[in-house]
């Protein structure tokens, strides 16, 4: 099966502070990968490094068959068209309506008839259950709606890989479960490969993807949810049984 992401021996440091070291991970076609770990373990840094927002100190990041770190600006730009990112707080542009936010990547990257753009946007919003929000501004949306709108924008260009940073953070359990269901539907129906950063147990169980667990900037476990739940590595066991004393 084709590897969409292939990372080897990745090292990231902020000044003299080492954040990630010796990271090896991969993502296959139509797979869901869940990066998990306790707060401050480097999950979000890993995500930002993969999408090119944080430069690594060393290592190799191959995305969709191209070495991301060796690409020039135009090639990086065209590679980024093939990935979608849903940020933790949505990162919608507040000066644009939800419809305009979702249309933005389409308008910037494709020369399409405006009516067709509107139909694509409405289809996307319909997919995430926000048909009524087309003309609303982000400030008029609830937290869950903002996340769904952000998801619709991330999906605008039909990305090969979708990255989600803490999709359920700050949401009530019902809305968070709705977002997870939506991600599963996208994965199963559109075949979108998804990388999710989270530390929410319920969400991890629902998504049932391949887990990549970090601890102090290093990968301590890779495998299925079932394997993690029966794992005897102390860090993994503590994470999945937080109330149980060792």
């Amino acid at each position: 099966m084709q590897r969409l992401i292939d990372i080897s021996d990745l090292r990231v440091a902020y000044g003299s502070t080492l954040v990630l070291e010796g990271i090896d991970m991969h993502l296959q076609q139509s797979e869901i990968a869940v990066i998990l770990g306790s707060s401050g373990c480097g999950k979000s840094t890993l995500l930002k490094t993969i999408i090119g927002l944080v430069p690594p100190s060393s290592g190799r990041i191959e995305i969709l068959g191209q070495n991301f770190l060796e690409l020039g600006a135009p090639d990086r730009h065209s590679l980024r068209r093939r990935i979608g990112v849903m940020f933790q707080y949505g990162a919608l542009l507040n000066s644009l309506t939800v419809g305009e936010n979702v249309a933005l990547p389409l308008e910037m990257h494709a020369d399409l008839n405006p009516i067709l753009v509107e139909d694509i946007v409405r289809t996307r919003l319909h997919l995430v259950g926000l048909d009524h929000a087309f003309s609303l501004y982000p400030t008029e949306l609830s937290g869950g709606m903002r996340k769904r709108a952000a998801l619709a924008r991330a999906l605008s260009l039909d990305p090969d890989i979708l990255f989600c940073d803490e999709p359920g953070a700050g949401l009530d359990p019902i809305t968070a479960a709705g977002i997870d269901r939506l991600l599963l539907t996208l994965n199963q129906s559109l075949g979108t490969s998804i990388v999710i950063v989270t530390h929410e147990l319920l969400s991890i169980e629902r998504l049932d993807g391949r887990l990549i667990m970090l601890e102090s900037g290093q990968v301590v476990f890779t495998g299925s949810v079932a394997a993690a739940q029966s794992c005897d590595i102390p860090t993994v066991a503590r994470f999945f049984n937080p109330g149980v004393e060792e």
């Binding site: 507040n94 000066s95 990257h109 067709l116 139909d119 409405r122 919003l125 003309s135 039909d158």
Partner: protein, 365 residues
């Protein structure tokens, strides 16, 4: 290679139908529809090799596209490998556009007037609250953090001094040059000192200082309060039993009321110094003679009126900045709007107040 061609009864699509190909396919489809003699056509999708969401939406829209050109189009199923994806992507049932504003002009004018009345009332309430709190806090400074006033005074006064000094020095110099060009024709260039001293102390010193402070400190106050509102810091203060107005706005008002008059006096001196510099370098007037002449021309009233004006300018700049900050709506763009409108409204208010003081101090009834 994606393309569309037609036979006797159908439009036939082949190749990938994706975001990258649909713009060209749409143009080709329109051409085929225009050229085809039949009014009802099948759309054959059996040779489509790839679909994405944009492509599926394009195909779903084809009947509407045909209808616009007087053709009836019927979609045939895509290949089995793409069928489930094609079934998943459906156009929403009804596309409701942005609701149109159907208000008449009179109605919208009325609405605007009512909104203006509301804004004016809330500004007046804030004016009363902030003014009362400013003086009340002098006697009972509870609810304010120690050291805030000094921090604000440094930011508003000390840090603004270099820019105020430089601008007023240059204004004094330019004013001297301009007036000397006229007065020299009558051999009266020594009167440049009178003109400059009176003009700077009565008018230019207070006015220019206030405009600089409105742009520099007024905007900062509006942005800070708007951001605090956005990040719920003001709500947090309230839940801690603190009055946001007293905690945030009163130290700024005090700092403005103290620093703007002091800056104005400094500005007056620097403006006159600019004149001294020009007199010495280009008017052949000795600095000492220029200063003596300027002091003879000045009355205490000229300096005092400038200081009184500057106090009122400080009060209105702070009031408007606090109001615009509290009136903030929206996200990052809202902070920008609050800042801009604070500066524009402050400058307008400063000019209005300046006219008011001009009438009070100098109009002979």
């Amino acid at each position: 290679m994606s393309q569309v061609h037609s036979d006797a009864h159908a439009l036939i699509f082949s190749g990938p139908i994706t975001l990258d190909t649909i713009a060209a396919l749409e143009a080709q489809t329109r051409q085929h529809l225009a050229d085809h003699p039949l009014s009802a056509l099948q759309v054959n999708l059996s040779a489509v090799t790839k679909l994405d969401t944009a492509g599926a939406v394009f195909l779903r829209r084809l009947p509407a596209l045909g209808q616009a050109q007087g053709k009836e189009l019927e979609l045939s199923p895509p290949p089995p490998t793409l069928q489930s994806f094609f079934d998943f992507i459906r156009l929403p049932p009804a596309t409701t556009s942005r609701p149109e504003n159907k208000q008449g002009r009179l109605e919208s004018l009325g609405e605007q007037l009512l909104a203006s009345r509301g804004r004016a009332l809330s500004f007046l309430y804030l004016m009363a609250d902030l003014t009362v709190e400013t003086f009340a806090a002098l006697y009972k400074p509870k609810g304010m953090r120690r050291g805030t006033f000094v921090e604000q005074a440094l930011a508003i006064g000390a840090q603004a001094l270099p820019i105020v000094a430089l601008i007023l020095f240059l204004i004094g110099a330019v004013s001297s040059l301009q007036s000397a060009a006229q007065l020299r024709q009558f051999g009266a260039h020594i009167f440049v000192a009178d003109l400059l001293a009176i003009g700077i102390c009565r008018e230019l010193g207070p006015l220019m200082t206030a405009i600089i402070i409105a742009g520099r400190s007024g905007s900062a106050i509006a942005a800070e309060i708007a951001t605090m509102k956005f990040t719920e810091e003001l709500d947090a203060l309230q839940t801690m039993g603190l009055d946001p107005l007293r905690f945030v706005a009163v130290p700024k008002m005090w700092a403005m009321l103290l620093c703007v008059p002091l800056l104005t006096i400094m500005a007056d001196l620097l403006g006159i110094l600019g004149g001294v510099f020009i007199a010495f370098t280009s008017l052949e007037v000795a600095p000492g003679a220029f200063v003596v002449r300027a002091l003879e021309a000045l009355l205490l009233k000229d300096v005092l009126t400038g200081v009184i004006k500057s106090i009122s300018f400080a009060w209105i700049i702070t009031l408007i900045a606090v109001y615009r900050g509290l009136d903030f709506k929206g996200g990052a763009a809202g902070v920008g709007r609050a800042t801009t409108s604070s500066v524009v409204a402050s400058i307008f208010a400063i000019i209005l107040l300046d006219c008011f003081w001009g009438v009070i101090f100098y109009l002979k009834f």
